[in-house]
Amino acid sequence: MTTKKVWIVGLATTVMTAMLLLAGTPSVTANDQPSAASVDVKIDNFSFGPQTLTVSVGTTVVWTNRDDIPHTVVSTEGVFKSKVRDTDEKFSFTFNTAGTYPYFCSVHPKMTGKIVVQ
């Protein structure tokens, strides 16, 4: 009996700890809240829109190339780097750490953008 009760208490603590961890770590996306996790950046006319995007930690940013010319999405500081994206192709990256992430198109380096994660 005693042993069983201890086990149950132990299990409950583990579950609660896990739940607390989940609640306190926004980078883990809860299954019932998928909509908060994704934000779009459109590539139109050789520019990223919006050029500066502010998202919360854990957000996945999805870039879509809508030009007739291929582009890339490359972090200036080497954090992420897409393959070449032709018309209508996408690239996504999930930002799990707060900070400012400047990026550019390595094919057309005049194209620059910034993701601010907070």
């Binding site: 050789f46 520019s47 030009d67 007739d68 291929p70 390595s106 094919v107 057309h108 380096p109 005049k110």
Partner: protein
């Protein structure tokens, strides 16, 4: 390609009083005896003298053709069949009365650096009667693995990202690469290593040696907002200042632009694939859609003639659809459209 309006010069005025197409048509007359010279960037014409005609073909004289921006693999409305227009360009080169010694392709051979795109380009170029073809890469040719695919195919014997030089009948040619390792916010870039190589390559050459520099992105600043320039081109151009004749041939902007600065004449070529808007006249530099029957009028090739007697290069651009043209003289530029 015949068009009843083909020989009319459009009188719509631009800065110089002649619209671009009219200007190009004037240029195309060079083959029938009108010589265009450029002085301080302003074109003027005079009749082709007989003596000039006789000089062509003398020992040492030669010509070569520049083609550019073939974008094999592009299939959007601006040109759904870029292989066909490249073929038209090759046919036009093959039909030239004076056979070019070689062809220079100033980059963007492909749209996406795919092996199949390079294969298609190679297949088409096999049909050129000029067997020697020199390449430099455009940014579209370096899209995968830092340009490995390009370098394996076209970079044999080159340095760094694919730069090299060669001599032909007394003229020194330098192929430069300004599309590798581009920096955020910047334009084209040659980089320190290549600049050092260039300085060494030119060192010790006689100042009377005609120099031809060719690269994909213009080596002069045309429109920084669209990245139409090369951040460190000034450095490169400082190395050629002492030479008596310098010709700079570029692509990338899919339209003809030219400028003379001292002994240096700059020239950009038309694309064989699609046109791009004039600087600042559109939201971006993306492919410009024109009516299908107008397409070959905005595509073309560039014929460059070197005459030993004049120690000068003549540049002739031809539309894909017209008969080819020729000209001679210092800084002569004649552009020919495909159609």
């Amino acid at each position: 390609m015949t068009n009843k309006n083909q020989d009319l010069i459009d009188q719509r005025l631009q800065d110089d009083g002649v619209d671009r197409r009219g200007f190009l048509k004037c240029m195309a007359w060079a083959g029938t005896g009108l010589l265009w010279t450029l002085s301080a960037g302003i074109p003027s014409s005079r009749a082709f003298s007989k003596s000039h005609g006789h000089e062509t073909g003398k020992g040492g004289d030669f010509s070569f053709v520049q083609i550019s921006d073939s974008h094999i693999g592009f299939n959007k409305p601006a040109n759904p069949d870029v292989t066909a227009t490249l073929q038209t360009a090759i046919n036009k080169i093959n039909a030239m009365p004076h056979k070019p010694d070689f062809i220079i392709h100033t980059g963007d051979l492909s749209q996406l650096s795919k092996p199949s795109e390079f294969d298609t380009l190679d297949q088409a170029l096999k049909g050129a009667t000029a067997k020697q073809i020199y390449f430099v890469p455009g940014e579209h040719d370096m899209l995968s693995d830092n340009g490995e695919e390009y370098l394996q195919r076209y970079g044999k014997g080159t340095k760094g990202a694919g730069w090299y030089s060669f001599d032909h009948k007394g003229v020194h040619f330098v192929g430069l690469v300004n599309v590798a390792n581009l920096k955020a916010g910047g334009m084209g870039s040659l980089g320190h290593e290549q600049l050092e190589w260039l300085e060494g390559d030119l060192q010790g050459r006689s100042a009377s040696t005609p120099i031809v520099l060719f690269a994909h992105i213009p080596l002069w600043t045309i429109y920084p907002d669209w990245g139409w320039g090369t951040d460190d081109s000034e450095q490169a151009l400082s190395y050629v200042k002492r030479f008596g004749s310098v010709t700079v041939l570029n692509g990338h902007i899919h339209q003809i632009m030219q400028k003379i600065e001292g002994k240096v004449s700059f020239h950009t070529a038309m694309s064989t694939a699609f046109a791009q808007p004039a600087p600042g006249t559109a939201p971006s530099a993306g492919p410009m859609k024109v009516p299908a029957d107008q397409l070959q009028r905005v595509l073309g090739i560039t014929d460059v003639n070197y005459l030993v007697s004049g120690s000068s290069l003549a540049i002739v651009d031809s539309p894909l659809g017209n008969s080819s043209s020729s000209a001679s003289g210092i800084g002569v530029v004649v552009d020919s459209l495909l159609g």
